[in-house]
């Protein structure tokens, strides 16, 4: 019996077991009834959110640090550390009014100086995404009435989407100014403004957050303690969700095959919101430099040969939906008005015939290597499916396995033919989509750049024009054209709009209230009954 089927058995046995599920020693509600037990996996490297943009850090640290704004499910900004904001008519000046009643967790008042320090000193040094956006500012200044003004050198459409806790966490100047940020001892004891403070971090075991008693909104937060448990084994995580040891988790915490069963349990609710901000598209990464793959007819044929609905239903167990193009339906400016590739082997074979790629006696037209991304079962199955699917149109795919470091190295150094990848879209094509397709971003050795090497001046021009205007009609129009052009060229084989539903115990309420989902600050979360 292999490990996976054993996990199934293990989890199944629990489900079938008539025993009371009190096998774990933990009385779940310990110090009061307003406790949330949840999961973080893997263990974060640090909780200093300004230094680390990895997912586990964001999950936990988003309760400790806050941005100027947060986003509702339609990606509209809502007040957070900024109570109000305005944009000048020419789209060049963004003025935020900063709350004057906020204290850092060490009792020091938060001021506009902290905001300026974060924007001009800290983030430009440490966060590549913020660096790119803040680099568009000609000046960042504070004025007496508690406002901060960002003056841009040129209009930048998605600027307001760059101020949540992941892109713009406001950091305490009084602890970091004039120090070496990465070796600052305060990194171990994060001090933020958020509704929760770090109480204890037992490495390898759990992270304990407690209610910030001096939070600037009276009565909030409603939860007294959050425990992030570090559980490295997927079967153990499924068990913990099932028996109520933890009351909150996300789809990525368990194997996809387990998710449906857990979501159907009477004590758990599936929440299908809160990933609008990340909204990635999973694609077959096609190295456009490789012979035959450089021909768009080959890429179109691949799009026709892969049954995306089959992939969603059988490999992703229904978590996600079929992708049709480069922009996620949840991201702004998604358009349906473009070429669509139905699952059609006849059309695929026709395209390859037109290329003059004829099959030999073994039925093989050509061969490619596909690097299996080392990110678990789903990618292994997806790779196997791809080999079978492409074999039907005479393409022989050889699967190559590697580890995370090997994958990162091969992809960023263009040393691959086919593999899979995805990137977060951050709500706006200018923030999360353009980087994958524009010629300027073909940078060897850098991940999440235009690694496929696709280059089309028409696409470049439209991305550039759409980015530098705040006129919504114009942006909509330009991004529609971009989607049409890309759908013709198929630089990448778009497969799945990935979804990250959460699993929440029925005893919890208002946990997910923003487009960043479990990475929200849990200010409104409640434990009922």
């Amino acid at each position: 019996m292999d490990r996976r089927s054993f996990n199934k058995l293990l989890v199944g046995a629990l489900g079938a077991s008539a025993f009371p599920l009190s096998w774990i020693a933990s009385p779940a509600s310990a110090s009061g009834e307003r406790v949330i037990n949840t999961i973080v996996n893997p263990e974060p490297a640090t909780l200093m959110i300004g230094l680390n943009q990895q997912a586990p850090t964001g999950l936990v640290a988003s309760k400790i640090y806050q941005g100027l704004v947060r986003y509702d499910f339609d990606l509209n900004p809502m007040p957070c550390l900024a109570s109000d904001w305005s944009v000048s008519a020419d789209g060049l000046e963004y003025t935020f009014t900063i709350r004057d009643d906020v204290l850092w967790h060490d009792g020091t008042p938060m001021t506009v100086h902290d905001v300026i320090f974060t924007a001009t000193e800290f983030l430009p040094q440490t966060n590549p995404r913020s660096r790119l956006i803040l680099g568009k500012c000609a000046s960042i200044t504070a004025s007496e009435n508690n406002t901060v003004t960002f003056r841009l050198a040129a209009p930048f459409g998605p600027f307001l989407l760059a101020f949540d806790a992941s892109t713009f966490p406001v950091l305490p100047a009084h602890l970091y100014e004039g120090t070496d940020f990465r070796s600052n001892p305060n990194n171990d004891t994060p001090i933020g403004t958020g509704p929760f403070k770090l109480a204890e971090w037992v490495r390898g075991s759990h992270i304990h957050l407690v209610r910030n008693e001096d939070y600037y909104i009276d009565d909030k937060p409603y939860v007294s303690d959050i425990y992030y448990r570090i559980i490295p084994d997927a079967a153990s995580r499924a068990l913990a969700l099932e028996n109520g040891t933890v009351q909150l988790g996300q789809a990525s915490d368990v194997e996809p095959m387990d998710f449906g069963r857990l979501a159907a349990l009477p004590n758990l609710t599936r929440i299908d919101r809160g990933y609008e901000f990340s909204a990635p598209i999973l694609w077959l990464e096609i190295n456009n430099r490789v012979e035959h793959l450089s021909d768009r007819r080959m890429r179109q044929a691949i799009m026709h040969a892969m049954d995306r609905n089959f992939i969603v239903d059988n490999i992703f167990f229904g978590i996600g939906s079929a992708a049709t193009g480069p922009i996620n339906t949840r991201t702004k400016y998604y358009s349906e008005n473009k070429r669509v590739y139905d699952f059609d082997l006849v059309a695929a074979n026709q395209l390859l015939d037109n290329m003059g790629l004829t099959a030999g006696a073994d039925g093989i037209r050509t061969r490619f290597d596909l690097i299996v991304p080392p990110f678990g079962e789903v990618f292994a199955r997806l790779s196997e499916y791809t080999r079978q699917a492409l074999r039907q149109i005479g393409i022989d795919v050889n699967l190559v396995t590697t580890d995370v470091a090997g994958f990162a190295s091969a992809l960023s150094n263009w040393d691959y033919q086919l593999t899979f990848n995805y990137t977060f879209q951050y709500g706006d094509p200018a923030l999360g989509v353009a980087r994958t397709y524009i010629t300027d971003n073909i940078v060897q050795g850098v991940l999440f750049s235009n690694t496929a090497g696709y280059s089309n001046p028409d696409v470049d021009a439209r991305f550039a024009a759409a980015e530098s205007t705040i006129d919504e009609t114009e942006r909509t129009h330009l991004y529609e054209q971009v989607q049409q052009l890309l759908a013709e060229d198929v630089p990448l084989g778009w497969l799945v709009e990935m979804e990250f539903p959460a699993l929440q115990a029925n005893s919890l309420e208002d946990v997910i209230t923003t487009a960043t989902g479990l990475n929200g600050d849990f200010e409104n979360a409640r434990v009922i009954g």
Binding site: Q54, R182, G204, A235, S412, V446
Partner: protein, 326 residues
């Protein structure tokens, strides 16, 4: 006294030499692994640019020639400076120190458990040699020897945590509960039983077999026959004359197994969410976290050398003849 001192000195010189060779080998091995820590770090951040990658390369000294990195590493090691983990922004030594206790507790318990149970099973086997208890112990030993430990771990969870509900399935203690002193110890013990047992099974099997063979061989020796002829009670013959002779190979193997117990803990630590060095090592390898990895390798090398020294001392205590000229 003087002889002891000189032996200790000689041992120390040898140990330092070993550590130096091991440190060099560790460095070399890591250089041979493909992959770039800067890319892994950037990769899991979901965003990257050239400046970030350059920063990380500089931090790891990857922008310098390999020989310079090597000399630098050896010099730092000589000063007991293990460096800083870039990803964590914390000193490597701190990260190892906070995990060391958990690993030593787990491997130490497994070590003790395996020798106690192994020796006991060996005795049973010897006592009933060729009869059904011997067969039973032999079959059990063969099964434990053959079964992969992580699989046994999952079976234990299934039986003791899920079906019987006696023991917690994972973790190192109950989270979010205030315990009294005694309560905390008991709680820890409850969490320790399954992982320690899982880790010990393989060694229980080996020691049971070694002990059985050793006892049967010793039983044929002249001094046992003499003792028996003198009318020494059977129990005394076993405890005073036989165990001492039979346990030598077990103690020798204990020294060997110090290494595998520490490295073999990775899977068990993962299955039981036990916050030890094994998992830290595994993560460090995946992230290509060179300073952390080299720090762990060094610390475990030193641990193994120390445990081997301990075994030597044990051997000498059991059989003074082995201590004449080490």
């Amino acid at each position: 006294m003087k002889a002891t001192l000189s032996i200790a000195l000689r041992w120390l010189v040898k140990a330092i030499l070993f550590v130096f060779v091991l440190a060099s080998l560790n460095f070399l091995l890591i250089q041979l692994v493909p992959g770039d820590p800067a890319l892994v770090f950037a990769g899991s951040s979901g965003a990257a640019d050239q400046q970030m990658i350059n920063q990380i390369r500089a931090e790891f000294h990857l922008d310098r020639p390999v020989w310079a990195q090597y000399i630098d590493y050896i010099l730092r090691t000589a000063r007991f400076d293990l460096g800083t983990s870039f990803q964590h922004g914390r000193p490597v030594w701190d990260m190892i120190a906070e995990r060391l206790g958990a690993t030593l507790l787990l491997t130490g318990s497994a070590w003790g458990l395996s020798i106690a149970v192994g020796v006991a099973l060996g005795l049973v086997s010897m006592r009933y040699v060729g009869r059904w208890p011997d067969m039973l112990v032999s079959s059990l030993a063969l099964f434990l020897y053959a079964a992969p430990s992580f699989w046994l771990g999952l079976i234990f969870v299934l039986v003791f945590s899920i079906w019987l509900g006696w023991l917690p399935a994972f973790g190192v203690g109950t989270i979010g509960v205030e315990h009294s002193m005694l309560g905390a110890v008991l709680d820890k013990l409850r969490h320790l039983i399954l992982p320690a047992l899982t880790l010990a099974t393989f060694y229980i099997a080996i020691y049971a077999r070694l002990m059985r063979g050793g006892l049967l061989a010793v039983a044929q020796l002249d001094h046992i026959k003499t003792a028996r002829a003198k009318g020494v009670p059977q129990i005394r013959i076993v405890t005073h004359h036989m165990i001492r002779g039979a346990i030598l190979p077990v103690v020798t193997y204990l020294g060997f197994h110090a290494t595998t117990l520490i490295s073999g803990a990775v899977l068990v630590e993962t299955v039981f969410a036990w916050p030890g060095l094994g998992r830290l090592t595994f993560d460090a390898i995946l992230q290509r976290n060179y300073p952390l990895l080299m720090g762990i390798l060094l610390v475990t090398s030193v641990l193994v050398i120390l445990l081997n020294a301990l075994t030597d001392l044990l051997l000498r205590a059991v059989d003074p003849r082995t201590g004449v000229s080490a």
